[in-house]
Subunit: 382 residues, 2 copies
């Protein structure tokens, strides 16, 4: 672990809570190593190994996004920004940067943060001469990362008040269900859905998290459980099938998920299975929130059915990777030879099932009006 | 495989379709071997190995149910019946049989077929002298098995007409989603939810099955995919998270599931996650049916919230077993050390979400009135 760049949590200090910890050390998900290399936590090796991956080229960045060594909508955007900087380092010409943006955009279709980051990088780079572009690009990528951290912190601040209110009403430990991983591993730091959880825990509000394992990639079992465990937040991993039953039994007080793309009409596209939890929350009167920064909002789309849904390899369904009793990381096949699988990675939760959106500017109703109230200037830009 | 008792499909012949096949051979899930041993397919080794397990004693039968070497509500009942016969073979006294019934009843709490079979066996055995009980018990267990096969066949006949009607309306291949395994492996033969599917396929109606993998035990990925593949029914394995999205996209025409216990008010207790699919079906106007024989109805309960829900080992969530690339069967850990899991095996789908029940007596509405119309004599017995 000596190659990990240890940086104290700049922003967490501001609100007086302990930084997020992994074995007592605070990490971001992506940073610049002393050598000048872009370095990221290799999430494909969690939860059993905390290793890093160095991104030296545009191709490295694209590959890391595509293979999900880095994943999570905000982190995909941040990595794409660094991918543009790496592309500029190799060749800062307009043509090459346009090609680089196309390459990065093609890695994953659903998370709108990817397009958002690329658009922002291209706009900034278009303003300066090629010879200045490497420096400008690395500065802008760093600014995107810092802004993401601050946005997530603010999501945490607003979500904390929501949790505080529900905990006060409940008068006991609050059970919060989350799907997939929308924690600090999905962002640069803090997380979206989990930022309020960390702040509540650190503020002494008793919370317990139901962690959907989130098949097929098991981001819940592998990443959310890892994060929460490292931070000391009480949690229990459950099969994706169980959340509805727990809600029927009154054992879920709140659902918070992230979002990979939220439409202007507040439909929430998120990891596949989110919609099922939203239906169960509605059926049982459980508040259901999505937490997201502005970069996740796609103002060009009104309804979620227009969001492109990524189809990934069937191997992610037919096979699974874990650690054998001998300590080896093994991939095993789960289905009979001859049976195939379909692996669509996201679904869309209609706004009507969403209680509210937790953003860096506050909490709003899941509606066009709610979003427009918080982001009047972005609406105007459309 | 030479130790498998190959019996031609007695009942399937009657409707003129091919028997269910595994590599061209027709199996029941449980039978009496030539040696007089009770022999069953060891479902814990599927889909990678088709092996059998011999049940020589009451303890063997109880263990096979508990470890899910045999599983599925009807098959649990059939195995428990043979467990009573094995108990009688060792000691046919009233006291021993009462103890045997308690032992078997304690194996799994949710499937009501278990209690139903034990009650039926005890009633029959109480009528005869101890010295006659071994023969009577084996005959009665065989009768329970034969009746189950016939009930499942009739469920298939009634469900076939439902599928035929929907296929005619659709005018294309019908996409049917099922959860867990309610096929012939869950019963003695045919299956409940899958009996109509097999009959439709054999009748030339084009069907394609979405197979929920059904975490944590993966009965869908392991057993339903195996069954359907062996019979040549087109199917695709999906993560449990995907069904809702497929329904939103109009890619599911019908949901059929089994049931482990159906209340007198027609609430359907079935494998955990069923409720989530029922919610999605309702939200998207997809017909949702449960297929079950009378032995699965608990006339003593009105609402599903009173059904005891089995809690199984967290290891079934934290670990998974599959076949490695070298062909070894390996169990791997999926969650970080220090993270725990909760493993509740069933949930309850309220009758309001169920379009209808497919029984051996026909299809009825999911309501007390619907069930009473089909089973007037059972209602009267309460």
């Amino acid at each position: 672990m000596s190659d990990l760049n240890l940086r104290p949590a700049r922003v967490t200090r501001q609100i007086g809570v302990e930084p997020l910890r992994v074995s007592g050390t605070h990490y971001r998900t992506i940073w610049i190593a002393e050598s000048g290399t872009v370095r990221a936590i290799d999430q494909s090796r969690l939860p059993f190994e905390l290793a890093t991956i160095d991104l030296e080229t545009l191709a490295d960045a694209a590959q890391a996004i595509k293979t999900m060594a880095v994943r999570g909508a905000p982190l995909i955007g941040a990595t794409a920004a660094y991918g543009m900087a790496l592309a500029a380092r190799s060749n800062p010409s307009d043509a090459h940067l346009a090609e680089a943006a196309r390459t990065l955009q093609a890695t994953r279709p659903t998370a709108i943060n990817l397009l958002w980051a690329l658009t922002r990088m291209r706009a900034v780079l278009a303003e300066v001469q090629p010879k200045e572009r490497v420096d400008v690009a690395f500065r802008e990528a760093a600014a995107i990362c810092d802004a993401d951290v601050e946005q997530c912190r603010l999501i945490g601040v607003h979500g904390l008040e929501l949790i505080r209110g529900l905990a006060k009403t409940a008068g006991r430990r609050l059970n919060i269900l989350t799907h997939c991983n929308a924690g600090w591993l999905a962002c640069v730091d803090w997380g979206t859905a989990l930022a309020p959880v960390y702040m509540a825990h650190d503020a002494g509000i008793p919370v317990h998290i139901w962690v959907d394992e989130t098949r097929p990639r098991n981001q819940g079992a592998a990443l959310t459980a890892f994060e929460l465990g490292a931070h000391g937040v009480p949690h229990t991993v459950i099969a994706d099938n169980l959340g509805g039953h727990l809600m029927q039994r009154g054992q879920v007080d709140l659902v918070i998920v992230g979002s990979d793309r939220t439409t202007a009409g507040a439909d929430v596209c998120n990891k596949v299975g989110t919609y099922l939890k939203a239906l169960a929350a509605r059926d049982n009167g459980v508040p259901f929130y999505a937490a997201l920064p502005a970069s996740t909002i796609d103002w060009s789309l009104q309804v979620g059915s227009a969001v492109p849904i990524e189809e990934r390899s069937p191997d992610e369904v037919t096979h699974i990777t874990g650690r054998s009793s001998s300590g080896r990381i093994e991939t095993v096949r789960l289905v009979p030879e001859g049976s195939t699988a379909l692996n669509l990675a996201f679904d869309v939760t209609p706004a009507r099932l969403v209680t509210g959106l937790i953003t860096e500017r506050g909490i709003c109703s899941a509606s066009r009006a709610g979003l427009q109230r918080l982001y009047p200037e972005l609406r105007a830009a459309q």
